[in-house]
């Protein structure tokens, strides 16, 4: 019998092994066998990797924390700066809105000339409703000039210095404005009070006062120009045997949030006090 050479056996073995692997791969058994063989290796690799990473972190993380802290501080500074910038811009936006509204008002009423001024303070006494403006006689503001906003009448200039002016608001107790009512076609007076409320006074009982009736300056008395909006009639009251009826007024101007105003500079108020007759002695 002829002896089969070793080389042939080797070839056969290789073919068998390759064939077996192919059969196993085709039948899907190879994956499971390889998986079972590799799992311990993966476990070992994971264990080793975790330890190596821990050692690496031990040496590198403190340096990273320092860097992160520096970055965090820098970012916090940046956030603070941006927040203050946002607040500043919001403030500017509010002021711009107010100025645009005032500008619109000035454009809609071109007959008058105006000086815009900011409200910088209020009278320190709780009895008085006055505000202080940041413009004075150097800017052409003088005593008696009417003060308005785009919403309506604010008051009149009570005193001036070179760079500031004091405005008596229509809400002040001593303030009296001659007005006319749009619907009722009658004239009356608007008076302030210590609480800042504004009331309509000196209305004849025969006049039908209606809620919502619009109140404008009449121009009588020479203190204010006519047709400046003041507010709306809220609640008319006619007491029995009273000579006049009264009504609360809802002013159009928000006096608690008065930020900027317009001073009408081409109106000269008239002091009629010398013309008022005094009782004979």
């Amino acid at each position: 019998m002829k002896k089969i050479p070793i080389r042939t056996w080797q070839t056969l073995a290789i073919i068998l092994v390759v064939g077996g692997v192919l059969v196993l791969a085709i039948s899907g058994m190879l994956g499971r066998i390889v998986g079972k063989a590799i799992d311990p290796l993966i476990g070992t690799q994971s264990w080793f990797s975790t330890r190596v990473n821990a050692v690496v972190d031990f040496f590198t993380v403190p340096r990273d924390v320092l860097t992160l802290r520096e970055q965090n501080a820098a970012l916090q500074n940046e956030v603070s700066r941006l927040q203050s910038e946002i607040l500043e811009l919001q403030q500017q936006l509010v002021e711009t809105d107010i100025l645009y509204a005032l500008l619109d008002f000035a454009r809609e009423n071109p007959d008058n000339t105006y000086i815009a001024a900011s409200v910088i303070g209020k009278d320190p006494s709780p009895f008085l409703n006055y505000v202080i403006l940041d413009h004075g006689s150097d800017d052409g503001i003088f005593k008696g000039m009417p003060v308005v906003t785009e919403q309506g009448l604010v008051g009149s200039i009570d005193a001036v210095t070179a760079s500031a002016a004091r405005v008596k608001l229509i809400t002040d107790q001593s303030s009296v404005v001659n007005v006319k009512l749009q619907k009722s076609k009658t004239e009356a007076q608007v008076q302030g009070s210590i609480t800042g409320d504004v009331t309509l006074e000196m209305v004849s009982p025969s006049v039908q006062l209606a809620e919502g009736d619009l109140v404008f300056t009449s121009g009588m008395g020479g203190s204010y120009p006519p047709e400046i909006f003041i507010g709306q009639v809220l609640s008319p009251q006619l007491k029995e045997n009273a000579l006049f009826q009264t009504a609360a007024i809802q002013p159009s101007v928000d006096f608690n949030n008065l930020r900027a105003v317009l001073v009408i500079t081409n109106f000269k108020s008239v002091d009629i006090a010398p013309l008022v007759p005094t009782p004979m002695q």
Binding site: G121, D123, P124, S125, L128, I132, D158, A159, S174
Partner: protein
Amino acid sequence: MTVLAVIPVLIILLLLQTTIAKEMTLLDGTVDLVLVWLAAWGLSTRDRSGYILAVVSGALVAYITALPWYIYLSVYIAVIILAKFVFNKLWESPLLAMFAITMVSSILLYTLTYAGLRLNGVSYPFGITLNRVIIPSVFLNLFLAMPVYAIVKDFSGWLNRSEESA
């Protein structure tokens, strides 16, 4: 030197008075920071600086306010006189003295204001004025009396030490 150091503080207080203090109201009453400060200063110091400060702050407020000029000036001087009198003669309990001076001087200020405005032809309804302005304002002044006294006491002590060391 003490007076020169305190005048800026009074100016700042006056600025606060015309801005923030007027926004923080109780009904229609507001606090008078300068009055409370002067009351505390009168109790904390033994020299005559209080009188000068009273005149300066009275003149400053009189310049700003639409009230007759003599009201704030006279009341602020009265606060110092009262503080010296109470501290030296009546008792030496500064906290009680501070409350008493603040209350009396506040009532004096608002009574004089009421009378002064009436003299000028502006009449206020007494009931509403009392309930909505005078009592709340006095209460606010009393509310701030203790913290202001503590601050002024420390401040005057610090100024004295600074002067002595200089």
